[in-house]
């Protein structure tokens, strides 16, 4: 008998439907189920880790401030020598086990799937809404698809990852802070309107 799927950290607050003002360009919010695995290279093993990531996931570890997309997973740079692997939610612990086997002796591998929650915000309103709590410049001149940044939004540590030109941003926060963060997001988006899928 397998364990039941855990309740989503935002199940109590993310009521599907329209919130805030009416308008034709609302902020679109989706809550993807993700596996998240932190990979931290052992000192001096970065090149061997890069080869292993290429072999197993079909991508090179992205440079600072960037992300990479592989065969069935993505990687986001989070700090020197460390990346967050993400993939659609699969069997419990499977992505971490795959990474641990591929990177044995090359990196520390830690499953963060329960500890972090990813929120996708999308649409023309996304930059204006995020600017109400985010200090980094998300203007196309300074940021864009494939760019990522660890920062704070509304005082909550947040990994920001732009995935397309819609624009869509994946926001990954600690699950324990996902609920207050989500309340902020609804407030910040209220003047544009927020549609939760």
């Amino acid at each position: 008998m397998s364990a039941p799927e855990p309740t989503h950290p935002l199940a109590a607050v993310a009521t599907p439907g329209r919130h805030g003002a009416a308008g034709d360009a609302p902020l679109r919010v989706t809550l993807p189920r993700r596996d998240l695995v932190q990979v931290m290279a052992r000192r001096g093993r970065e090149e061997a880790l890069a080869r292993a990531m290429q072999d197993t996931f079909g991508m090179a570890p992205p440079a600072a401030g960037r992300s990479a997309t592989g065969r069935d997973a993505s990687a986001v740079w989070i700090q020197p020598g460390a990346w967050m692997l993400t993939a659609p939610r699969g069997a419990e612990g499977a992505l971490a086990a795959r990474a641990a086997a591929a990177f044995a002796g090359l990196a520390a591998v830690e499953d963060q799937s329960h500890g972090r929650t990813t929120i996708i915000v999308s649409g023309p309103a996304a930059r204006a809404v995020l600017a109400r709590g985010c200090r980094i410049d998300l203007h196309p001149r300074a940021f864009g698809p494939g760019r990522a940044a660890g920062t704070q939004i509304a005082h909550v540590s947040c990994l920001v990852h732009q995935v397309d030109d819609a624009p869509s941003f994946e926001l990954t926060v600690f699950s324990t802070l996902a609920e207050p963060f989500f309340h902020w997001l609804l407030e910040a988006g209220a003047s544009h309107g927020v549609v939760i899928a």
Binding site: Q79, T151, Q152
Partner: protein, 91 residues
């Protein structure tokens, strides 16, 4: 408010960093005596001018950085990683 150019993350708001003091202080050897340790723990130059200091980018890449900052004007002239050398300019 300072804007600190992190070598890993690019320019970021001071609020993402923690100030960690004079980066030129070095820990004495274990046999150097109580006076040397007293100086290491408590005595600082507190200069009016350029200082190399530690800032940790805790809300970003988490790295400890060396920052060359003017303590009067707050001008930041250079930022380096923890293992790089960063010298205080003459006068």
């Amino acid at each position: 408010m300072l804007r600190i150019p992190c070598p890993h993350c690019g320019p970021r708001d001071e609020a993402e960093f923690s100030y960690r003091g004079d980066a030129t202080v070095t820990r004495p050897g274990p046999e150097d005596g109580i006076e040397a340790f007293h100086g290491y723990l408590y005595e600082r130059r507190n200069p009016r001018g350029w200082q190399v200091e530690w800032w940790q980018h805790g809300a970003g890449c988490r790295a400890f950085l060396k920052v060359l900052r003017h303590t009067v004007t707050h001008e930041i002239r250079a930022v380096a990683t923890a293992t790089e050398a960063l010298e205080v300019p003459e006068a």
